[in-house]
Amino acid sequence: MANFDVLKETAWCPGCGNFGIINALKEALEGLDMEKHKVLYVSGIGQAGKVPHYIEGNVLNTLHGRTLPTATGAKLANSDLAVFAIGGDGDGYAEGGNHFLHATRKNVDITYIVHDNRVFGLTKGQASPTTDPGMVTGTTPEGVVNAAFNPLAVAITNDTGFVARSYAGDRKHLVKTLQAAIQHKGFSFVDVLQPCVTFNKINTYQWYRERVYDLNEEDFDPTNRTAAWERSFEWGDRIPIGIFYQVERPVLRADDKALAKGPLVQRDLDPHIVDSVLDKYRVNP
């Protein structure tokens, strides 16, 4: 079984939620017997974007906000790779907002993990789309006024086939959720609630401990889209984690004629492939 070594020396603060996530990721990958060289992490910019530099696998640490299109292109070109898109809430929901909106519609078979600490960490504490109204930050000195972005609701609205939320402070739940996401065929979205010990003094470990509960342990049907959507608005005294919505949908280009012979990366390149294409343009052949 492959060992996904994790680097001890990181750029993260002691107590950072990223440690919980990276260790859960390691456990999830090893538990599924995945092979290091068959894994590709596509990460963005931010503290979360550093994850792939600290865990073994192939890495493309791309631009802020652009993990989803990059991961989509990689997966379409080589479906033999297990492709992960990894980034924070600023990366994914602010800069990457438009890509989130559309990647959740395309059922490309990748796993998207968002380290949602509800603040911008690397740039030192500005509000992110998921920052709760009222929080004072460097760019919102009077407190955030915008409604918090609800990524789960957006994904469910777009009929994303796997929509889940987990918590960096609950190792078991996170490992289980990541494994379910990896095994799900199609776009799998996991928003991971994560304390930021340095810049988010509201959503702390203590705060989450008092609120987080597993909705899959209740009478909840994850195939019911309306119920999932409504539940995604539950926030405050009780915060549900778990699989909100899961359905089978045709995987993007699973039956694509262009991919019938195998992944694009294995194509033989022959200029004469355009002979028949050019026939349409021939006159007096």
């Binding site: 060289h37 299109p69 989509t72 070109a77 004629k257 991919l259 694009l264 200029p271 007096n284």
Partner: protein
């Protein structure tokens, strides 16, 4: 040097493009050489548009301002273009569509629409009537046109085919008398096999021949033709064309795909290219090959979406923040559009960098008859790729130092070794660093590649006389106008030379030769500030004697160049 030109004008939605395309097929079938271009507005219905076809017994590279036959499907065609008619030329028009009748010998009324009614056929066949009428000026043989109509409408059933053929004959007859006023264009002695294409057919054909496997794009005029061409050939060629939600997604999808080891591209125009610049820097920093077509149109901003200009030159050459290896090619015609896509992919993969291909609306949409492409001449060079045992080497470093600055590239998953890449500054292993020494070494390594890129920069193409009195220098689609301008000058006993630049970054040193010699050199281009002139000055410290610049959204041609060169001195 006489050639025959037909100009067909009308509103969008009237079918003038259909008429144009039918005629192109028939003209090519009869063995003529042709150059056709279109002028259209950014709309689906209405406005004023035209389709212009130039015909000769020898290859043509640009258009002429005057027409032998002007065909009006609307009144604006007459108002706007009647003064462009050659002496003795004919204006064919449908009085019903145009809304009035005209006095004057040049006016020949042919009721395209009424004819369909008289013949008991659907009104949409008015196009075929118009084709027939125009064909009378070209050929003695109406059946050739009928055969083209048959081929085009074969899938619509026998009745439609027969109807089109019938009404085209009636149109032909109605114009026959007037057609006798003009000599028919001379045909070449032999009919050769040709390809009838426009730039937006040649560019994607070249990409497919070069092995492109992935394209992602967001539609933007005038690049959309490339995107749809590839989209239509996915199954046939084993290619994936994924529509992206925006241009940022388009370029990043292509980079993601390229990272896994496939030839990947995108295509856009100036406004979309603007959105791609950060990612082009990523490709430069992370050393990921990708090819981007920037099909220019007039700016600034949204500009004139359906027209042509060359005003993106400087910002394409300087794209992305910081310094990184790149190349920019500028095909001048259909043949180069095909060939240089292959060159672009080879450069991109050999040097692991982004390569831009500058096209424009004129190149994209102008048709020519060209010799069939030699597919055996297409070479595919994937550069330094890690294979065999090296792909299992746990010590593999994606950005390992080397003499030429190129590190062997591992396709992730092809072996047990791991490929780690980043846009942030990184060390040999691909992990993030900030120290001055590693930063300097990695920058030196990447930019070392540019030495070799520069060495293989494509030499310019020279036309005409050495030791010229007048030298014209241009890049990209101006090639055709340049070539014929040189011929026009030579026909006036002026020693003339044309220098066509097909790679604008880095530029081959021979380009500076254009400014040597005892004669005068002029830079010809389509931009207000003369961006190519500025680039030449920056690179070679040269200053031309003058310039010709067009920035009204219309394409250059030989006549325009001579009209504006040295205040019209060579007008002839």
């Amino acid at each position: 040097m006489s050639t025959f030109s037909i100009k067909i004008g009308g509103e969008a939605g009237q079918g003038l493009v259909s008429v144009g395309n039918i005629l192109l097929q028939a003209i090519a079938k009869e063995g003529w050489h042709l150059f056709a271009h279109q002028d259209y507005e950014s709309r689906i219905r209405g406005g004023h548009n035209f389709f212009q076809i130039r015909v000769a017994d020898r290859p043509l590279y640009t258009w002429e301002g005057q027409s032998d036959v002007l065909v009006a499907l609307d009144k604006a065609t007459i108002t706007n273009h009647r003064d462009e008619l050659k002496d003795g030329g004919v204006i064919l028009y449908d009085p019903g569509l145009v809304g009035e009748t005209y006095e004057g010998e040049e006016f020949v009324a042919v009721p395209f629409v009424q004819t369909t009614e008289d013949e008991g056929q659907p009104k949409v066949m008015a196009n075929a009537v118009a084709c027939g009428a125009i064909w009378a000026f070209l050929s003695e043989d109406i059946e050739v046109l009928g055969d083209v109509l048959e081929a085009m409408f074969a899938d619509k059933g026998e009745d439609i085919v027969a109807g089109n053929r019938q009404v085209s004959k009636v149109g032909y007859q109605k114009a026959s008398e007037a057609a006798e006023r003009l000599p028919k264009p001379v045909k070449p002695k032999e009919k050769k096999p040709v390809l009838l294409m426009k730039g937006n057919d040649a560019l994607p054909s070249g990409a497919l021949a070069a092995g492109v496997s992935f394209m992602s794009a967001y539609p933007m005029t005038p690049s959309t033709g490339v995107t749809e061409f590839i989209a239509g050939n996915q199954a046939a060629c084993g290619v994936v064309m994924e529509q992206a939600e925006d241009e940022i997604a388009a370029i990043n999808m292509a980079i993601g795909a390229a990272y896994t080891g496939v030839r990947a591209m995108t295509a856009t125009s100036g406004g979309g290219f603007a959105l791609m610049t950060e990612a082009l820097g990523l490709a430069g920093s992370a050393e990921i090959p990708v090819v981007v077509i920037n099909a220019q149109r007039p700016g600034p901003s949204t500009g004139l979406p359906t027209r042509t200009e060359q005003g993106d030159l400087l910002y394409t050459v300087a794209t992305g923040s910081g310094d990184f290896p790149k190349a920019v090619l500028a095909p001048g015609d259909i043949e180069e559009a095909f060939e240089l896509m292959g060159t672009a992919f080879n450069l991109a993969e050999r040097y692991q960098m982004p390569v831009m291909v500058l096209s424009d609306q004129h190149l994209a949409d102008a048709h020519r008859t060209v010799e069939p492409f030699d597919l055996d001449a297409v070479t595919i060079d994937r550069g330094k790729v890690v294979t065999g045992d090296a792909a299992n080497d746990s010590g593999y470093k994606r950005y390992a130092y080397s003499e030429d600055g190129i590190s062997p590239r591992l396709y992730p998953g092809s072996g047990e070794a791991l490929a780690v890449s980043a846009g942030d500054e990184h060390d040999e292993e691909g992990h993030l660093i900030e120290d001055a020494e590693t930063r300097t070494k990695q920058m030196d390594k990447r930019m070392k590649k540019m030495e070799a890129v520069a060495e293989e920069a494509l030499a310019p193409v020279f036309f005409g006389d050495d030791d010229a009195e007048v030298t014209l220098v241009s890049f990209g689609s101006t090639k055709g106008a340049l070539r014929e301008a040189v011929e026009l000058l030579q026909s006036q006993e002026v020693r003339a030379r044309g220098v066509h630049v097909r790679q604008v970054f880095p530029m081959a040193p021979e380009i500076a030769d254009a400014f040597d010699g005892s004669g005068k050199t002029y830079v010809v281009e389509s931009s207000f500030t003369g961006q190519f002139e500025r680039l030449l000055a920056a690179e070679f410290a040269v200053k031309p004697a003058g310039h010709v610049r067009r920035y009204d959204g219309r394409p250059l041609n030989a006549e325009y160049i001579l009209e504006h060169l040295e205040g019209g001195r060579y007008r002839g």
